[in-house]
């Protein structure tokens, strides 16, 4: 029975608030079960003081028989044993009984309560039907007992007496009374809690405020506040309970901090005692009474207090289902404790704290594992992993401390230390004695032997790493891995260590953390050295030797490692290839000459700038650059690259991502675009086909950026395997010493074969070690070209004028040909362009860079056919220049050229004159044929000369007298002097040409003309054909006589003789003095034959009449183009002229003047009329050209006639032609004009006065 409870209270979860029961015990016992069951069924709202949030609370109670001793004595602060409510039970219904016994008992009960100051009581009166029956005799109204009790005890508080009706019956009435009772009990209980706890809290606060007073003890206060926590826990208010502990925690922490700041409290002394026990946290008991007692006695150490506090917090947190907060708090606690012990300067055995932390970590983890399932644990790794890692860390340092990590095993000193540490653990707690995997057992085992330690350590490490990986904390995992690697190194297992180190290194490199990179790499170097992986070791050493984060001594050490290996005389096959980028960086490459394009055989130098990263100067046996050779078929033309990207051609700068372990910024932004201009030129004429821009490094830019692949920087973890490809051609230099920093090395590049040379790889050989740069990027090329010798001739001044000596420049680009002594150019002479001999002709030889190399005199020998120019010896790819004076003879006129053969058998190309569109001058292409020593073919070159003059001639007649006029027009831009103008006739000696020119010298300015006139005089007969040559001397203005050059103009005049004279007379109408406009007048045309017919003329166009008289038919025609005259009647007609001198024919024609004034005579044309028979005879004439011309001319005149309406209307021509229409298609009768001079018109330009008609004039006046 509950009331028989013994005094010591077991502090368990089963604690309930104590309620005492007095009065009728039998009655209570009968009702106890229902009461205990029903009390917690309904929650009650608990309103809190100090503004704390109200809470719903299920009340339970521990019903205890009332005893005087249960009431707390003055000063007793215990809350757990505090009776919160006192109940008096009675079922008395008999007034007598009440008065005699029950009242007295109640009085006693009340008194004892009052003396202890307890006001939380209630009297329950139970009424049953049985009692009613039993006490039938002296019936009083049953309420009277209750009334009596109320009046006796509850003078002001009527609610302190409750009636319970028929509690054991199952009636609604009974239920109702139960409910009201329970409600009352709960209310009263809560009131009691509020009052008593409030009082307690007030006391507690008062106590806390006294903490600055001397003699205040934290431990005492701890016990008080913990009491409150217990009560909250008892009321299942774990949150509130936790708050109590947290407050204690904070208070204590503050004291420790204050201690650190110099503010010492006396009570802290006990916590500063040296640590003797480090058995770790104990979380398996709800309350660790052992430690609690220690605290109560003031004997607890800091670790004890912390452990106890944490165990309570842990218990409450687990009640609150917040296990992950436990782990977090645990880590904080452990860190904090270590710090606090340090702060308080508590003396601790070396390693003791490690033990404590290790055990505690595992204990917390065990506790958490105990209350969570596996899935929950796995999902919450992030909360536990910190503890795992911490435990691992501590075990490692313990292992190191106890000599369990070294290769040799622990020394005796280590063993002593181990024993001391184990002693501090004490005995295993009874809770875990039976557990196989208790932290205690683990630690003991781990410290007992090297093997066990390794097993436990690896287990923990791997667990921590796994967890880190699982939650994506890869960096943390790698750090654990690194620490594991260090362990393996200590154990002498570099192979396993390297794996972890490489993994860590990869991460540091990819994220650009230089110091960790350097550190890890140094550890790797150590591993590799131990493993004997020479190549890897050397590569790592090279990286380290160039690592600026290391001290110079360390760098020198690693450099020396490489050099000493290189110095070993191993067999040749055992060469080690290392990446050059870590050894030296190619920063710049320069070509001399800068165009990076030379002719074959020329010297091309390549200057490399290498930044050596080694700390000391390194002697290199050979530095070689392999070359890829590409025969360039396109030559220098064709597809040509935009010469050089750089502003400075011939220099290529290589950009490296800053220093060796710099931030991988290049990976962030990607490589920059490298653009190049591409021009596609047609190979034939070098014209541009297409042009464009190409990106040269698309393969780098378009590359997928894989997060796993670190950028291709020199700090990659394991440099790519480099292989030196043996190229056919290499640039080599022997024995170079590379100083730290920039070094300049000059190669002489091979340039024998024409083509494109691409530098591919660079290799530095140091003894057995080769540093290879597998790709030179951006690619570097140079070009070697070969050129045919090229001879060009160009005018020294434009334009070249024909007829005057002109200087032309010969330029010989020797190309690959070396001009030897005795080599000569053979120029075929031409009549039209002789080469003028000159006394001194110097040739200039200049180098490809246009520097003058040599000057020498040329010797020129001219024979009849050939001019030979002996060239001075000239090296290849040089330029030879000399000047020659040539004269292009102006062709003198319409000579028909005869085909000639040149000395070399070629058909001589006649200089063809043509009119050039750009200049009014007539151009002559003068070709030269030159035999060159380097070729079996002749070189044909053309020069264009321009004739400065245009010459025209004309025949003028005056009756029988003849004049020849020559017009010379200067079409050039030069002013000339014209002298000795002369005209000669070649065939007829008797002929005299009398000059009518007065001046001997004449100025002929640019764009001006000079006219010259000669009268032709003859003795016997005037020949019908004259072969004339006009000649003059000319020279540019203001030059002396010797500079005069002849100019000839040849022309031919035919049918010079005047055959007919035409006279016309206008006769006024009869009886009139003058003609009048509008009146017909007569036109008398008189055609007179002047000469006897010549032989040619007879044959040509005469025919014999039937009467034996030879006649020729003429056609006359009167036409007036200016509409002055109207021809009335026949305007044209045919006359038959006898072919004798002075034969005259007169024709009368009627014309009418249309206007008044001095009117010019109408035009009278006389034409030859060729009947069709004559035409047939003429047709076979080979000189069809002339005939066609005349035909067309004939047609034209006919057309002119047709335009004249008057003539057409008369149909005179028509009538002429109509008779012959049948013969159309065979031969038409034709008209042929006479040559100028054959017909002399006396009335040419004569005028006649025409008077206006007498009729009144009509004058039109327009006024506007």
């Amino acid at each position: 029975m509950e009331c028989q409870e013994e005094k010591p209270i077991i502090y368990t979860m089963e604690n309930k608030p104590i309620v005492t029961c007095a009065g009728d015990q039998g009655l209570f016992t009968s009702l106890y079960t229902s009461l205990a069951q029903q009390l917690p069924r309904e929650p009650m709202e608990w309103r809190r003081t100090y503004g704390r949030a109200p809470k719903m609370i299920h009340l339970e109670a521990n019903f205890v028989q009332f005893k005087e001793e249960l009431l707390p004595k003055e000063g007793n602060k215990a809350l757990l044993t505090f009776p919160f409510l006192h109940i008096y039970w009675t079922d008395c219904c008999d007034t007598e009984v009440y008065k005699s016994t029950v009242k007295e008992d109640m009085m006693r009960w009340q008194n004892s309560l009052r003396t202890h100051g307890s006001a939380d009581w209630v009297i329950i009166v139970v009424e049953t039907n049985d009692t009613k029956k039993k006490n039938k005799t002296n019936i009083l109204p049953r309420s009277s007992i209750v009334d009596k009790i109320r009046s006796d005890f509850c003078n002001k508080q009527n609610d302190r007496c409750v009636v319970l009706s028929d509690p054991l019956k199952d009636s609604s009435r009974s239920q109702e009374s139960w409910n009201s009772l329970l409600l009352k009990l709960r209310t009263l209980l809560l009131m009691s809690f509020t009052k008593n706890l409030g009082r307690f809290e007030d006391d507690m606060r008062t106590l806390r405020e006294k903490r600055t007073q001397p003699g205040w003890s934290f431990c005492e206060y701890f016990m008080v506040q913990e009491e409150l926590a217990f009560v909250f826990e008892m009321l299942q208010q774990f949150e509130d309970a936790l708050v109590q502990y947290d407050e204690l925690d904070a208070l204590f922490t503050q004291y420790v901090l204050n201690f650190g700041a110099g503010d010492t409290a006396n009570w802290l002394g006990s916590f500063c005692a040296p640590v003797r026990n480090w058995s770790g946290l104990l979380l398996r008991r709800p309350i660790d009474m052992e430690k609690r007692d220690g605290i109560q006695r003031g004997e607890a150490s800091l670790l004890d207090l912390r452990s106890y506090l944490f165990s309570r917090q842990c218990t409450l947190l687990i009640f609150l289902l917040r296990p992950w907060e436990v782990t977090q708090r645990a880590l904080e606690l452990l860190h904090n404790c270590v710090q606090e012990l340090r702060l308080l300067e508590v003396s601790v055995l070396d390693g003791a704290l490690d033990c404590w932390v290790f055990l505690s970590c595992l204990e917390v983890l065990h506790r958490i594992e105990g209350c969570c399932d596996q899935a929950q644990l796995a999902a919450n790794c992030s909360h536990t992993v910190g503890l795992w890692a911490y435990a691992t860390d501590k075990l490692k340092s313990l292992g190191e401390l106890c000599g369990l990590v070294s290769e040799k095993g622990p020394t005796s000193e280590d063993l002593n230390r181990t024993v001391d540490l184990l002693a501090g653990l004490g005995d295993e707690r009874p809770e875990t004695v039976n557990s196989l995997q208790s932290p205690y057992k683990k630690l003991k085992e781990a410290l007992s032997s090297v093997e066990a330690f390794e097993r436990h350590y690896l287990e923990l490490s791997h667990a921590a790493m796994e967890m880190y990986r699982a939650i994506g904390r890869l960096r943390s995992a790698r750090l654990v891995g690194k620490s594991l690697a260090e362990f393996y190194m200590r154990k002498g297992d570099p192979e396993r260590a390297e794996t972890f180190l490489q993994e860590a290194l990869k991460s540091y490199v990819s994220e650009g953390w230089r110091l960790p990179v350097t550190h890890t790499r140094r550890q790797i170097a150590e591993c590799q050295k131990l493993l004997g992986r020479t190549e890897d070791y050397l590569q790592t050493s090279a990286l380290l030797a160039g690592d600026v984060n290391l001290t110079t001594e360390e760098r020198k050490h690693f450099c020396q490692e490489i050099l000493s290996f290189a110095g070993k005389s191993g067999d040749k096959s055992n060469k080690v290839c290392l990446s050059m980028s870590v050894f030296a960086q190619l920063t710049r490459l320069q070509f001399h000459p800068a165009t990076a394009s030379v002719h074959s055989g020329a010297i091309l130098q390549v200057e490399l700038t290498l930044r050596c990263l080694m700390p000391v100067s390194v002697r290199i046996q050979q530095l070689a650059a392999s070359i890829h050779f590409d025969v360039d078929h396109g030559g220098t033309h064709g597809r040509s690259k935009g010469a050089q990207r750089q502003t400075n051609p011939g220099t290529v700068e290589f950009n490296h991502g800053s220093s060796s372990a710099g931030p991988p910024s290049s990976s962030a932004t990607g490589p920059s675009l490298e653009l190049d201009e591409i021009q596609d030129r047609s190979p034939s004429d070098n014209s541009l086909n297409s042009t464009g821009v190409v990106c040269k490094n698309t393969h780098l830019i378009m590359r997928r950026h894989d997060s796993n692949s670190p950028p291709d920087t020199p700090n990659c973890v394991s440099p790519p395997t480099v292989a030196m490809k043996e190229g056919a051609q290499m640039l080599k230099v022997q024995d170079v010493t590379l100083e730290p920093g920039n070094n300049s090395i000059t190669f002489t590049a091979p340039s024998e074969q024409p083509g494109t040379y691409t530098l591919r790889q660079l290799c530095a050989t140091v003894g057995e070690v080769q540093f290879v740069l597998p790709h030179i990027y951006p690619s570097v090329q140079y070009e070697v070209y070969s050129q045919e010798p090229q001879l060009t001739v160009e005018p020294l001044s434009e334009p070249l004028l024909a007829g005057l000596p002109q200087m032309v420049k010969f330029t010989l680009l020797t190309g690959h040909y070396a001009v030897k002594k005795g080599d000569a150019l053979q120029l075929s002479n031409t009549d039209t362009m002789p080469i003028l001999p000159s006394s001194s002709c110097t040739a200039r030889i200049s180098s490809p860079t246009a520097e003058l190399v040599d000057e020498s005199t040329l010797s020129i020998q001219s024979s009849e056919k050939v001019t030979s120019i002996t060239l001075p010896p000239t090296p290849p790819y040089h330029t030879l220049e000399f000047q020659l004076e040539v004269l292009c003879i102006i062709p003198s006129g319409s000579e028909r050229p005869a085909n000639e053969r040149l000395t070399n058998g070629e058909v001589r190309h006649r200089p063809r004159s043509y009119s050039h569109p750009d200049t009014p001058m007539t151009a002559i292409d003068q070709r030269m044929s030159i035999d060159c020593p380097w070729s079996i073919y002749s070189t044909l070159l053309a020069l264009t000369f321009y004739i400065p003059f245009k010459t025209k001639h004309s025949l003028l007649s005056a009756g029988n007298r003849k004049y020849i006029q020559v017009c010379v027009q200067n079409v050039s831009d030069v002013n000339f002097t014209l002298a000795e103008v002369k005209l000669t006739e070649k065939q007829h000696v008797s002929l005299e040409l009398q000059s009518l020119n007065t001046k001997t010298q004449q100025l002929l300015c640019s764009k001006h003309s000079v006219f010259c006139l000669w009268e032709v005089r003859w003795k016997d007969d005037l020949p019908s054909c004259l072969q004339c040559v006009f000649s003059a001397n000319f020279s540019p203005l203001n030059q002396d006589i010797s500079a005069f050059k002849p100019f000839h103009y040849q022309f031919q005049l035919e049918r010079v003789t005047t055959l007919y004279s035409v006279r016309a007379e206008i006769l006024p109408p009869a009886g009139e003095q003058h003609c009048r406009s509008g009146f017909l007048c007569g036109l008398e045309v008189c055609i007179t034959r002047l000469t006897e017919p010549a032989e040619g003329e007879v044959a040509e166009d005469s025919k014999t009449d039937t009467d034996g008289l030879r006649t020729t038919k003429l056609m006359y025609e009167v036409a007036d183009s200016s509409s002055n005259w109207a021809v009335c009647g026949k305007s044209s007609g045919m006359v038959s002229m006898p072919m004798t001198a002075n034969a005259t024919h007169k024709v009368q024609i009627e014309v009418m003047p249309l206007f008044a004034g001095h009117l010019p005579f109408p035009k009278i044309k006389v034409l030859k009329y060729l009947p069709h028979t004559a035409a047939v005879a003429i047709q076979p004439d080979p000189d069809s050209c002339v005939e066609n011309d005349s035909l067309s001319l004939l047609d034209k005149t006919l057309d002119d006639q047709a335009d004249t309406a008057s003539i057409r209307s008369r149909g005179s021509v028509h009538s002429v032609g109509s008779g012959d229409q049948q013969q159309k298609g065979v031969a038409m009768p034709r008209l042929e004009p006479f040559s100028p001079g054959q017909v002399f018109n006396h009335t040419h330009a004569r005028q006649v006065l025409v008077l206006p008609s007498t009729d009144d004039h009509i004058m039109e006046v327009n006024a506007t």
Partner: protein, 139 residues
């Protein structure tokens, strides 16, 4: 006051890292590097819940026995890490926050310098001065 202050680029390489005492530099590098794990965890956690309006201050990243590591991330994902000695208990959260704010302001100034190439290590003297002011002054 801080024992180590680091600025880490978006791509997780250090833009600036300084620590006192210098002999422990390597250890701090490791610590800061490892702290990026937690920074990333926190950034992704924040990104999920709040979207754009987020707190730059990430709070205590993780404590170790000797140091406390605090984190801060700018909107451009540049991370600031401040390592404080665990024994330095006088430092409150607010002070750490203000240190970060100061650091961020100075960092912004550095970024505003037209001659500074974003992504390059910070070499600004002004920034160095601000950092020095926040570091533990040791002889």
């Amino acid at each position: 006051m801080a024992v180590c202050i680091a600025v880490i680029a978006k791509e997780n390489y250090p833009l600036y890292i300084r620590s006192v005492p210098t002999q422990n530099e390597l250890k701090f590098h490791y610590t800061v590097h490892t702290s990026l794990d937690v920074v990333e965890e926190k950034i992704s956690a924040v990104g999920k819940s709040l979207g754009d309006q987020r707190e730059l201050y990430l709070g205590l990243l993780y404590p170790t026995e000797d140091y406390k590591v605090y984190g801060y991330v700018t909107n451009s994902k540049v991370k600031f890490v401040i390592v404080v000695d665990s024994s330095n208990t006088s430092l409150r959260d607010n002070e750490i926050r203000s240190m970060f704010r100061k650091l961020h302001n100075s960092f912004t100034d550095v970024m505003c310098n037209p001659f500074h190439n974003p992504g390059d290590p910070i070499q600004s003297k002004a920034f160095d001065g601000i950092v020095s002011g926040m570091m533990v002054q040791t002889g």
